[in-house]
Subunit: 314 residues, 2 copies
Amino acid sequence: MSNETKPYAIGIDMGGTNTDIGLVDRDGHCLARKNLPMCRYTEIGAYVADVAAAIHQLVSDRNLTFSEIAGAGIGAPNGNFFTGCIEHASNLAFTGVVPLAKLLGEQLPVPVALTNDANAAALGEKVYGGARNMNDFIVITLGTGVGSGIFADGKLVYGHDGFGGEVGHTILHPGGRLCTCGRKGCLEEYASARGIIQNYREVCEENRREAYIEADCRWLTEAANKGDMMAIRAWEVTAWHLGIGIANAATTLAPEAIFLMGGILNAGRWLIDPLRAIFNEHLLCMQRDKIAILPTQLNANDAAILGAAALVQL
Amino acid sequence: MSNETKPYAIGIDMGGTNTDIGLVDRDGHCLARKNLPMCRYTEIGAYVADVAAAIHQLVSDRNLTFSEIAGAGIGAPNGNFFTGCIEHASNLAFTGVVPLAKLLGEQLPVPVALTNDANAAALGEKVYGGARNMNDFIVITLGTGVGSGIFADGKLVYGHDGFGGEVGHTILHPGGRLCTCGRKGCLEEYASARGIIQNYREVCEENRREAYIEADCRWLTEAANKGDMMAIRAWEVTAWHLGIGIANAATTLAPEAIFLMGGILNAGRWLIDPLRAIFNEHLLCMQRDKIAILPTQLNANDAAILGAAALVQL
């Protein structure tokens, strides 16, 4: 059976808190899954052994053989497709450069590939989601950080060294807010969960209103729903920053659509309505009204697993 | 003879003032050329007839036949590769949408292709210049405007509609200087010839010194050479804006190198030394010291013709 016709793939979503492992079919259904809490692991050997064991279990539970599995794809923070390594991920216990694809490959009879989580998200959208018929699109992941995966002419943009697609770290406000990357003014500092709360605090300060001290993105959405003008304004300000940031990516790449993914989208119209308007306003005239901003068409629970699986099923 | 083995191509560089037409060999030598002043033409039919006549002349002068010519490539302002049209170019007498590739194709026995001048520059660098062995690189053209052509994984990034690669119109300073495109804060307004003079004026104003009223880029370079601190500072400020702008493109695309092209490069070390430092400083840590900023390796006189010819010789 050639790889293109193998009916299943394994998707591994490696995060700071959990690793989720799923068995995925070609239509993008996650048929079964396992979870490994990351707090169990301080060294990579034990982690890899447990991931491999979970995959063997998933395959045998469904009475499958590895000849029906195209491979195992891993979406990991700071994952580099070219090297198969996780490189200096700040939110993992495994420090330095970890050759995870190689280590896991030694314990599985199928190919293993690895990329970062945002690239995996874009692959998932292409293989199983709303970008199936698109060749040029961008996926923006909104969460603790702002990630992105870029497709140009039907291929994921890895760049020369595998680090392509860091739209979240383009500098939107030179000399602006200090980013976790050490530079100033990155888009991420204005459109991540952290950035949004900072936007809210600044809106309150400008309006001489006291900010709710425990505000998070969920609270901000609820507050907006209740008519809290500071919360509504915070979403508008977020839309302004994000709209210009993704308009810049669109000006550079001329995509057909930009897909958004992540829990922050639960803000619904408070974010998406002003975002579409501001994005459009900041495009060059020949692109105006032509580039769609769309929510991901992948199920939120499965998106990360699907993205990882897509890496070996594209 | 297949197209790949045809030894010659025609390159057509269409500008606001002149159209330069050259016969180019596979090694990137411009063997002969013709020039048509644009002031002669108010309607497209006469222009196309003269371009075609000039090409026939170039071919017959060298005792060649069209079977040895791979085709004719056109680099034109607002040229769209996908449609073969010039779309609303503000610096040409021909208004609206002009199907130039089709019109010229009707008068030549070889394929005709068209793209914008910055994309042509990138194609020229790939086929004949310093990017021959690179798959991921960006060419930035610095002149009246700031243009760019992007290669990702060995292919020019046209995007969904042919308008990819407008790095000069990414917004560097939201709400900043009004750009000719109608939006505010585009990189072009800080790093084009026009933008550089504005930088100089602002530097003089900040330092309460009178700006030289007739300052242009050539004067600014000469003044810097003579030790004029306002001129030196103007180049540093330009490098700061341009450095951040192209660092953002590099963060998005992870290229191996960024090539610079255009008369502004005559500023030499006054621009390039601070530019390299500022660019590097604004990259993500894993890319720092890894992305070269290089002057084009195409001869300035022939670069635009070579770029256009590359379109049919890639």
